[in-house]
Symmetry: C2
């Protein structure tokens, strides 16, 4: 018969009430006589009406109940990182009471013209969370529209409220831990530089061009303690990438300790050390960063800086909630805490030939 889906107006008509009354029956916003209520529900059932259309309701309310999460790179590569995963869980938890869901968006929809993918400004969102860098063309447009935007790990200079981490201080702390153990000959494995360069040793000039804030900050922290340590940049935060980096490092020299910028990388470095016949921590100490649970690295317990990932996600959610209510909310900076595991120990005695791991790359 009718090809059109029934609307709340149809239901109201059939039940013999006003549309506004029917609406209230579904939203529960105000009291309705039980009898009227029953009539409305009955009419709805007869018509096959399943409730207000979310799109129309959203327009009317001015809220879609959707928060965008802007990712760098594909879903696959982002969620391989347990930190991102935990962050998202925290975020989802904080947003759930708002009834808001998470919409995954990527920054670079291949720029193909003609609308290849969904974009920040083509999609009905109430707010956005930036996961990597805050530099993104559509961000300004979205903010201009009055939509709250929050960043996790963004550039410091931006005026976007940020859920930051004490990357530099934390990395310095763990570097000091190694220094106190007597380590002098240390190598560093960094996260992606974000420059598009392939993984490999970081040349002197490259260091200033690092595009990923996290990477740069953690490196700077380590550098405060070990200014001349050679650094190898990994591609992604993965065990296998750490393995590659570790192989390169142990092929080039015999540092007594390796500082990895993530626990996954550290796990890979440990593998590489084992491969090279080195015991951890007797022959070489390995330190990580993040402190999230890593599947499959038992029986090691990494010495690492534990960042409050879930709390950060939750904080982002709370911040959004605040902004959405019109309160204004400040950036927050979280602190990491040192956790000693069984992967670091005193520097082995002997072989004090300075800089045995020095600048191998070229």
């Amino acid at each position: 018969m009718s090809s059109r889906r029934p609307t709340i107006a149809d239901v109201a008509r059939r039940a013999g009430v006003a549309p506004s009354t029917a609406s209230v029956v579904f939203s529960g916003k105000s009291r309705v006589a039980p009898e009227t209520q029953a009539r409305v529900r009955e009419a709805a059932a007869e018509l096959g009406y399943t409730g207000p259309d979310p799109l129309a309701a959203s327009l009317r309310r001015g809220r879609s109940g959707i928060v965008a999460v802007v990712l760098h790179g594909g879903i696959g590569s982002v969620f391989l990182d347990p930190v991102a995963t935990v962050l998202m869980d925290g975020l989802a938890a904080a947003l759930a009471p708002l009834g808001a869901g998470l919409l995954l968006l990527r920054t670079d929809p291949a720029d193909a013209p003609g609308g290849s993918g969904p974009t920040l400004d083509s999609v009905p969102i109430d707010a956005a969370v930036l996961l990597g860098s805050t530099r993104h063309a559509a961000v300004d447009a979205v903010r201009a529209r009055g939509i709250p935007v929050v960043a996790i790990e963004g550039e410091a200079e931006s005026d976007i409220p940020t859920i930051a981490l004490d990357n530099r201080e934390a990395e310095r702390e763990i570097a000091r831990h190694l220094a106190e153990f007597g380590h002098r000959d240390v190598a560093i494995v960094t996260l992606s530089l974000g420059t598009g360069d392939a993984p490999g040793w970081i040349a002197a000039g490259t260091e200033a061009r690092i595009a990923m804030p996290v990477t740069a900050e953690r490196l700077a922290g380590a550098r405060e303690v070990f200014p001349d340590a050679p650094a190898y940049a990994a591609g992604l935060s993965l065990i296998d990438e750490g393995l590659r980096a570790g192989r390169a490092i142990f092929a080039a020299g015999r540092p007594t300790a390796v500082i990895a910028q993530s626990d996954l990388l550290a796990a890979g470095v440990i593998r590489a050390a084992e491969e090279a016949g080195l015991r951890v921590p007797q022959d070489v100490s390995v330190a990580g960063f993040d402190g999230v649970a890593i599947d499959g690295i038992a029986p090691y317990r990494l010495t690492t800086m534990v960042q409050p990932a879930a709390e950060r996600g939750r904080a982002a959610g709370d911040l959004i909630a605040a902004l959405l209510e019109g309160r204004d909310a400040p950036s927050i900076r979280f602190t990491s805490t040192f956790r000693e595991g069984n992967t670091t120990g005193p520097a082995p005695p002997g072989g004090d030939e300075a800089e045995s791991a020095s600048e191998p790359g070229r």
Copy 2:
């Protein structure tokens, strides 16, 4: 001054054109004189108008550009599984040309009354993808509204189009591979039962109650070859869970082969074997399932059934695209292919005491 955001009508007025003209300038749906266009854009810039409101546009078009992905459990636990991750990537890729983004929704919004979380029927979506089970209250409501729903790994009996996998046949195939190698004494490690039970040996009666289709199907396939093999149910698909299961198995007996229902579980079983002083594959063979890249299990290459995870995700996306265009689209069943690695081999000779791994649990 004005507190209200400018609308396209404001822009049109200021530019001295009709609203429809301004609209066309932004959508590019039809040619507009360059000069008019410039006037409109200028007016927009002056007013701080950043483009049509996606919500209003969506209502008008009847499309929100959002596809829901319904997950079982938190984001954290779902994305720990590389298969899910790859599936999602494929899905996102297939949906991008449609300009559709992925909205993450979980099945069990803690059931807290009063609307604790976003739900399938409270959110403006164009379609939905069910990731785990298809049994979900809101699904019917959504389908009643005419919204396409597609399942990945759903119950067979449902009338929802499904992207299926030959779980049973595939697992039978790999079991046969082991049988041909002479293995008779085999243990099985299954994925979650979905019953809420804690990990542990599967009692005879439990087997019929398995709620996760994948688990039941793969188990059935293995059972065709090894009807009496003891089976241990893991909680999640994780290396550490496989390790736990493996420990339990090797503590209880000395099977010559272990069939794990996922590669992650297999990786854990291998660890457990190493712990127990068993060499893989000389002393014990280990077979997996999925064939996705697993971070950190080098140098092993698992013998496994490779499922086309990315293709499945893409197929789900294509299916949705078809349904959205009104074409109707059939369920698809994908086939897994056997891949021999270095973790399975001939059953070791000797010790033929039948069923050395038999029913240890109780």
